[in-house]
Amino acid sequence: MSAAVLADRSRGRRHAAIGMRRLWVGTAIILAFQLAFDFAGTLDRLDDYRDIVPVFTGWAVLIVADAAIVIVTRVLGEHLPNWLFVLWYAALVLVIALDLTSSWGMPNPGDSFTVGLSASISLVLAVVTRPTVEIFTAAVGLALATGVAWIFTGGYAAPFIHETVYTLCQMLFPVLVAALITGSFRRLMRRETEELLSHSAIAAPRLTVGIEASEQLARLDLAAESLLSAVADGRMRLPLSEEVAKRAGSLATELRLHLLASRSKTWLGLAIEESTLLGEHVRVDDPTSSAGLLNTRQRAALLSALWLLHDEHGVSSRSPHEPIALTFGAPTRAIETDHFEAISIRVDVPGSTRMMIDPGVWEHFARVGRYREALDGLGMRIDIHCLVPAPRGSTRGRTDY
């Protein structure tokens, strides 16, 4: 299997968020009931059809296509390849066309539209595996095509117009609702996953290296190793060519930079940097790396508070584009005792009011330290004063250059 196919599949998997299995199975069962209901409708109208071949062909095609999709999705683990989706969609279009042919010229087309309705609602089978936009487009396309077909048939007559509008709504809305609900489920899971992943950063030491930086260092090491061993076993002649010398020079510079700079990140910087959701909404200003001094409990509480603020910030804030700003002060000797240092943290939540902030936020802030909140012209401002244990040995000759 080529790399492109694998990459494509992994992209498809991203749409299949965690925990979708149960949702998908449930949707399939509900759809099965809908199919049974509509099939009963077809049998009920058997005498009205001039020719029953198209409508039963439609049922056969639909059942085979849906069963194939169910099996493929199940086997591939909540994944549906593009080409199969297109093929399936073509089958659905065919089924609707067959139903339109068989109900052509019948007095009340909306009412006798049975297998076509099932075909349109079948799209719910793909809400787990395809992005919401695709499902929307597909469903609207089917309903629109059917509506246009009805306009051009004699059946679009005044006494039955309600029936046709009703049927079109039936074709469209279940699919849209399923897609939207799955979308919010997916968003919820993504947010949960990101929050949990970001929490893994709180166990880091005061200054840390990210996973990415660590991998980068390993890559640089490997490049240096191959260069050095080439020199050692004489594959490269000394003095080196200019090009190789330049490469050695840039490797040395990069390694140096890495060894010096990579330990400058705090857990908080890392947590925010590695989360797309949080990264969009939170900015941290921490020139003295004070965040690294917080203990694990304080870190966890601060991060949880940020996530709650993030939830509200995205939806209800008056200025969602302005990020939540965290400003850390330099640690100072606490007045109360020699064994602790004090750090001030200022949290600015632009465009927010006290009412808009989740009550849980205050609980979390209280766990970080003593806080005071105030409403300034731009939004909420929270000042936290927290105590952290002073680093060992800092009581004598502490460094502050």
Binding site: T27, F173, I181, L197, A218, S229, G249, L259
Partner: protein, 385 residues
């Protein structure tokens, strides 16, 4: 568990909002189609639809029960408006009422399923809506409308159940992913630590690379090859995760000795800077007992200071004086170079702050810097024993 419930309720309310709105739109679309209701019924129903939409929209606020009740009242009012204002109930009356009472009402009431005994209120509301619907349609239509409305309620209940029962296993799965990620992060943190600690002191990779960057001129070819071989060996061992003490050239045996002497390692630092063109004079104690972790950090700090001397001081000689008392080991790195105004030059530019200060602070030590233009620079490093 509490958190899981909060998430589940939020999802149910969001779902209820979408479901309810879709039902309202569908019902309104059917009602807005010109037909047998007459314009009066249509216009009277419009404000009620607006009100119902507000109720559905507000389902996400904290007073769910109240808004759900409001929606039910609006839906029943719409039903009676259609029944009373339109000339006579026809077969198509049911078509406007089914999306309203069979989708919008049960869909919105789905939000109640988040509460204890919520299913009870859900069914009370659904049956009230269904009852109103049955009264409004023609007798001939009643059996089919009743069936469809009840099926709609069952469907909404099923969707609500599906959503709320999907959340706990999904969150458990998320927790599993989180645990795996934490383990990975810890491993990578350890690995980075290992690489840095092992290399900052005991390898000469950087020095060798720098020599190679000058095409290896000015150094004995044999010596350079030998050094390259040692460095490549060290990197290989790091990569393969082999214990470093098997390395013959490195005097680094943390697994074997609790405390180690400074002497030989100081020599290696000295040699490294010799090759780079900086002469280092050692004074004071030649043998110092320090735990290996502390020793690493201490030596790293000294080499960083020497690197700064080499780069910025403009002289080729530095002095390192090592002293100790019962609690601390100190190193003083001095040069007679050009010096600088401590306040004027940002510490960040010297690159000391993060590397030296942070590293020593982790060990419980400290660093102080003294300098002025023309008078050279002195750095005082201190670690606890």
């Amino acid at each position: 568990m509490d958190q899981i419930q909060v998430k589940r309720d939020r999802l149910l309310r969001q779902g209820a909002r979408v479901y309810g709105l879709a039902g309202l739109i569908a019902s309104f679309a059917v009602l807005a189609t010109p037909g047998s209701w007459g314009l009066l019924a249509f216009w009277t129903a419009i404000p009620l639809y607006v009100l119902a939409t507000v109720c559905v929209w507000m389902l996400q606020s904290r007073r769910t029960l109240r808004w759900a009740g409001g929606l039910l009242a609006c839906a029943i009012a719409i039903t009676f408006v259609i029944m009373l204002v339109s000339p006579a109930p026809t077969a198509s009356t049911g078509l406007a009422l089914i999306p309203l009472l069979g989708a919008a009402v049960p869909g919105a009431l789905m939000a109640l399923l988040a509460y204890r005994l919520g299913w009870f209120w859900f069914w009370i509301g659904c049956l009230a809506g269904t009852g109103a619907g049955i009264i409004a349609v023609t007798p001939a239509n009643r059996p089919i409308v009743l069936t469809v409305l009840l099926l709609g309620c069952v469907l909404a209940h099923a969707v609500g159940y599906l959503l709320s029962s999907s959340i706990p296993p999904a969150l458990r799965q998320v927790a599993e992913v989180g645990r795996a990620h934490r383990a990975e992060r810890q491993a990578s943190e350890l690995e980075a630590h290992r690489r840095q600690n092992a290399r900052l002191l005991h390898d000469t990779v950087l020095a060798t690379l720098t020599l190679l960057a000058h095409s290896g001129r000015g150094v004995s070819e044999e010596a350079l090859r030998e050094q390259a071989r040692n460095d490549a060996h060290l990197l290989r061992q790091l990569r393969l995760g082999e214990p470093l003490f098997t390395l013959p050239e490195a005097g680094y045996r943390p697994e074997l000795v609790e405390e180690t002497t400074l002497g030989t390692t100081l020599d290696s630092v000295k040699q490294r800077f010799d090759q780079l063109g900086l002469d280092v004079n050692w004074h004071g104690a030649g043998r110092i007992m320090l735990p290996p972790g502390v020793l690493d950090g201490f030596l790293f700090a000294i080499s960083e200071c020497l690197e700064n001397v080499r780069r910025h001081s403009g002289v080729a000689l530095a002095h390192v004086t090592i002293t100790e008392d019962e609690r601390f080991v100190r190193a003083m790195v001095t040069d007679a170079g050009r010096g600088f105004e401590v306040d004027a030059v940002g510490i960040e530019r010297l690159g000391i702050k993060d590397s030296v200060v942070a590293r020593l602070a982790e060990l419980g030590g400290s660093a102080r810097l003294f300098s002025s233009p023309g008078a050279g620079t002195t750095v005082l490093l201190e670690v606890p024993r």
